[in-house]
Amino acid sequence: MALLEISHVFKTYDHEPTIEDLSLSVAQGEILGVLGPSGSGKTTLLRIIAGLERADAGKIFFDGKDITSIPSYRRHFGMMFQEYALFPHEDVFENVAFGLRMQKMAMPQIRMRIEEMLVLVGLTGFGSRNVAELSGGERQRVALARSLAPYPRLLMLDEPFGSLDRPLREQLMTDVRRILKGLQITSLFVTHDQTEALAVADVIAVTQKGRIEQVDRPEVIHRHPANAFVASFLGLNNLLSGTLLPDGRVETPIGILNPELTDKRSGEAVTVLVRPEAARLITDECEVDAGETVLCGMVVDRLFRGVLYRLEIDTRSGQTLVFDLPGETPPPQNGERIRLAIRPSAVVLIA
């Protein structure tokens, strides 16, 4: 039984549908990452769950109860806002204490809880600091402590790493996941950055234009994107249209490919994703194993990235594909011909 259940939610802004018939569920203790481009309605979804916004239609259930019409301040959910929304007129202690004061907790308990929270987020001794003096990373930690302090039943994070620079962002991604898993708190976070979603979430929901495109574990999403949108949003752009043959292989403009597995019926028009990391440079036909497809083309762009070369290849059919080849063997130069063997594991059938 899911802890949070979103059922057929609709929301329209200025006659533009922001969320359309969206259903989603989150299990107890799970971290759900809502991943989508900006304007895909993910922040609106978060605000509807938080009770800061009302859906035009649809219901929200929490722990089996319908909470659709309960105001935000009675839901006992935590929310970490984009840019954190720390109270500028209060110090770190008072910011973190706010939720506890609202619960009318006694002062000694408040002190203990805040001490505990500041230790948890690594800000021991920061209680009397002014919010304005804090660095970006420290603000993020205070915001996390503030939303966690009143024992929320659900924690929501809106672009929690959005405004931080890269090294700090990676450190905090690890920390946030460790803290959330350590507390066993059910969480929901929104991001447009696939790295964040893949690193922090247990389950990812990819959204586009107010609809959910795919919900699954990060590994599955990355290996088997459900459709062309999910694939290209994850940066996988080698998409080919083809026809499924009776033997389970797919005929495409670049040749016949062997997808890993399929549940589609023969004759159907399908889209095939060729994973960029699963191609091998070959010099003669003997090296080709059974099931592999040979691809001939011309290098149009070659980028050395240290561990690998990223090659852009013009195929004979006129389509451009991108491949990552190991860095040890230098591949042909720009304008030279190239031959690649594509492994069956590199070919994924999507819708």
């Binding site: 938080a50 007129h89 706010f98 939720g99 503030r146």
Partner: protein, 558 residues
């Protein structure tokens, strides 16, 4: 030689406004001070002691303070919802409504007083309407000559001050802060008191203090609406000087008033520096939303309605009353302005007052433009420390109550070589003192925006300093000059506090005529007051619309 000439020229530019201030501002002030310390021609603290020991005067000090405090609190409470809708919502007609809220602030106090007479007076339209509708035997409102009418008029005046300052501040507050409080379990009310109110505090203090200063120095409103029972310090200065002719006491009261005003202003600037809370400003699209839900519609609708009623009703009543005669709607009161019947309070047809006012305003306009531009030119040349002293010095007359300026004029400028008592120039001189600061403030940003290189280039090409000013500065500041001119003209037309001291009985201005009409019994006097107030109001509103139009795309220092 050319350089020497330029230097002399600059000195002349700076000296002229300073000499004017010296003669028409500082000298009268010194005379007021001297008068209060030398009541019987020699040193003595008698009058000052009297101010703080006589129950009568203490009563005035107390009334001045508490009515200002109550007016301030009422204004803030009533204006907060208005500030909120301007800060948080986008709706059609918002810009227009925002401009409308400023209209009362530019209206002369006599017009506002006349308007409230017309609305809430004993025979005001509110009473008339209620008597007719509910067939009452007597009018239900008895607000005339009560403190209530004074308080309501003060709220009316200052509503826009609070809406503008607090609303502007509020629109920069992130709504997420309130939402964060909601998520942490704070109800709407708790979030307001714990988060919004503390964050708005600096703007509430600033606008509150401004409103307090305005109400503390309220003159025309209290004089006309309060009747003989109520007096603020300024009203008492007038009564002591004009009715009782106790000049030393008027001097002491003026001294006290000046000290209070400057003390409040000092606190105001100090607070402004002290209470800035670092805020991360949110973008407009984030902080302002459209009116969509029913709740939004009701809330915004109710507020817009309240604003329109609060601000529109008195003006409507004024216009309505100016046309409603015993024989129904007619121009009778307007026609009467051209006549001079024997029972009239004037020796001349009231229309003369309009000619007088326009004449005075034209003279003021010319003098204020010359002085204002010279002062602006002085401040525009980067001189560092001198500018930082001169700038507030030039603004002093605006910060001093017109009543005190007027009082200073009559006690200082009545002996040779400065015997201007019978001079027609006394009124425009007093008005210039108030109005030139507006010219200065409009022209200075424009002058400062001129790149230095432009002037140097013109000078190198052989232009004399005067030529440089004509060819470079003047075209750029023309717009600012027009703004300043309109300000000077309208300020002069509506000026009451100083005029009531310095104008001669046979050459009254429009506000003076309205004041005298309101003080006389009879429907015809009352109607003429309404008609004249309506005319003055229309002129003011037209001037204001003109300024608002000019202001688009350009930001002055207001």
């Amino acid at each position: 030689m050319g350089y020497e000439l330029l230097k002399r020229f600059r000195v002349l530019i700076a000296v002229t406004p300073l000499v004017f201030l010296g003669i028409f501002y500082f000298y009268p002030l010194i005379r007021i001070f001297a008068l209060s310390f030398t009541p019987e021609g020699m040193w003595g603290m008698g009058e000052i002691r009297k101010l703080f020991t006589t129950a009568y005067y203490l009563q005035i000090l107390w009334f001045t303070t508490w009515q200002a405090a109550v007016s301030t609190v009422l204004t803030i409470v009533l204006a907060l919802p208005g500030a909120y809708i301007f800060a948080r919502y986008r709706f059609p007609g918002k810009g227009l409504l925002q401009s409308l809220t400023t209209v009362p602030f530019v209206l002369p106090s006599v017009v506002v007083a006349a308007a409230f007479h017309a609305l809430l007076g004993e025979h005001g339209i509110a009473n008339d309407w209620l008597v007719k509708t509910f067939r009452l035997a007597t009018p239900p409102f008895h607000l005339e000559h009560t403190v209530w009418l004074i308080l309501i008029a003060h709220v009316y005046y200052n509503y826009s001050v609070v809406v503008r300052i607090v609303g502007g501040f509020w629109s920069r507050l992130e709504p997420r802060l309130t939402e964060a409080a909601h998520m942490l379990g704070a109800s709407t009310l708790k979030a307001f008191f714990r988060i919004t109110l503390p964050l708005l505090w600096p703007s509430l203090l600033a606008s509150g203090l401004l409103v307090f200063i305005f109400c503390f120095s309220s003159f025309g409103t209290v004089l006309i609406l309060g009747g003989p029972r109520f007096a603020t310090i300024e009203v008492e200065i007038y009564r002591q000087a004009v009715n009782i002719f106790n000049l030393p006491m008027a001097g002491v009261l003026s001294l006290f008033q000046i000290l209070c005003t400057f003390a409040f202003m000092w606190v105001y600037t100090w607070l402004q520096r002290k209470t800035t809370v670092p805020l991360t400003p949110g973008s407009r699209t984030l902080t302002q939303r459209r009116v969509i839900t029913l709740q939004d519609r009701l809330f915004v609708g109710a507020n817009v309605g309240l604003i329109l009623i609060l601000l529109g009703a008195p003006l409507f009543a004024l216009v309505f009353r100016s046309f409603s005669t015993e024989e129904g709607f007619s121009f009778a009161f307007y026609r009467a302005l051209f006549e001079n019947p024997s029972e009239s309070v004037f020796f001349v047809p009231p229309i003369e007052a309009i000619f007088n006012s326009v004449g005075f305003a034209c003279a003021t306009l010319v003098m204020a433009l010359v002085l204002g531009l010279l002062a602006a030119q002085t401040l525009a040349t980067p001189k560092g420390r001198l500018t930082s002293i001169l700038d507030p010095l030039f603004m002093l007359p605006l910060a001093t109550s017109p009543v005190i300026l007027g009082f200073g004029f009559i006690i200082a400028l009545d002996t040779p070589p400065l015997n201007l008592r019978t001079s027609l120039m006394l009124v425009p001189l007093a008005h210039t003192l108030v109005a030139y600061a507006f010219v200065l403030r409009s022209a200075l940003p424009a002058l400062r925006s001129i790149p230095r290189g432009l002037r140097d280039a013109a000078a190198l090409l052989g232009a004399s300093p005067l030529m440089v000013w004509r060819k470079v500065d003047l075209p750029i500041v023309t717009r600012a000059i027009v703004v300043g001119a309109v300000f000077a003209f309208t300020v002069s037309l509506g000026e009451f506090g100083a005029t009531v001291f310095v104008a001669r009985p046979q050459t009254p201005t429009i506000p003076l005529a309205i004041y005298r009409f309101l003080g006389q019994p009879g429907a015809i006097n009352y109607g003429q007051a309404m008609a004249m107030s309506t005319i003055l109001m229309v002129v003011m509103v037209v001037g204001f619309i003109f300024l608002e139009k000019l202001r688009i795309g350009e930001r002055g220092e207001f």
